[in-house]
């Protein structure tokens, strides 16, 4: 699954570009992929010293509420809250995409992992054949949140819903991610591909999963 993250500002904000967020508080849900995506979007727009962040709740519903209250200048959101924010008049000043990556205990068998991969591959093909049909899943995750439950399938920008059939993680991407996190002090030590990726299991599972 590919995740879309967006840096979002309130309708009344004077910010129109990510560069204009220099020195202004951007709320990030530290420790989650969306927060790292937010940091990378900011880093692409300004020197690190100008990046100003504050801790935000894990729930995008709470981050959206904080944005609308004016608790901070911007935050990072994912679907369906990007769509909610746009409907509320908020502006997206940057969007990005990143892979969701599976982390497994060493004991997972190649056969079980292959079965998972085959099922996910078939699901990806079904969803990509008719994305609009499946956007209801984004709504049902947020039962009780009227901002979301009032959305209809046509409100969603399908370009932000991207699915790719699962494949092995390229070592270069794993290394870049590690080194980028280490550069922010989020990880310590050098990247060791053999410690992070069981290539034998991965290769066997993907061979078995080939459909």
């Amino acid at each position: 699954m590919i995740v879309c993250g967006a840096l979002v500002v309130a309708p009344t904000s004077t910010v129109y570009t990510p560069q204009e967020l220099a020195g202004r508080p951007v709320a990030l849900d530290y420790g989650n992929g969306t927060a790292y995506a937010g940091l990378q979007m900011l880093e692409g727009a300004m020197p690190r010293a100008a990046i100003t962040t504050c801790a935000a709740p894990t729930s995008p519903a709470e981050r959206f509420a904080g944005l609308m209250r004016g608790d901070f200048e911007a935050t990072v959101l994912q679907e369906p809250w990007i769509t909610v924010a746009e409907k509320a008049g908020c502006r997206l000043v940057s969007t990005t995409f990143f892979h969701g990556t599976w982390i497994a205990v060493p004991g997972v068998s190649a056969e079980a992992y292959a079965a998972l991969l085959r099922a996910l591959t078939r699901a990806v093909r079904r969803i990509n054949a008719d994305k609009r049909r499946y956007v209801s899943y984004f709504i049902r995750d947020w039962a009780g949140h009227s901002e979301v439950t009032s959305l209809g399938p046509d409100d969603f920008n399908l370009g932000r819903i991207q699915l790719k059939e699962p494949g092995p993680i390229p070592e270069s991407e794993a290394r870049w991610a590690w080194e980028w996190m280490a550069s922010w002090g989020l990880l310590e030590g050098a990247f060791d591909a053999t410690a992070q990726i069981d290539r034998r299991l991965e290769r066997r599972a993907h061979e078995l999963a080939s459909i």
């Binding site: 849900d29 927060a35 982390i103 998972l116 099922a119 995750d141």
Partner: protein
């Protein structure tokens, strides 16, 4: 006999494929009994409690204590 795999909870924004595969019987068709485990509500911490270098994430908690075999980061 079906293979069993327990993963940590996913939501549509990062696990739409998992949810569709579960609901449409695609795991079962592969002989996989996929179970989705969720943290008890009283154990869920908000990222607002964390700092950039010491984040308060919920990801991987169930796997760390042997109650899930995989999670998506």
């Amino acid at each position: 006999m079906a293979m069993t795999l327990t993963i940590e909870r996913v939501m549509a924004f990062m696990g739409l494929d998992v949810l569709v595969a579960r609901d449409e019987g695609l795991f079962a068709a592969e002989g996989l009994d996929l179970r989705i485990a969720a943290l008890p509500p009283d154990e869920i911490r908000s990222a607002a409690e964390g700092t950039p270098r010491t984040p308060a994430t919920n990801q991987g908690k169930l796997m760390a204590r042997g109650e899930a075999e995989m999670f998506q980061a």
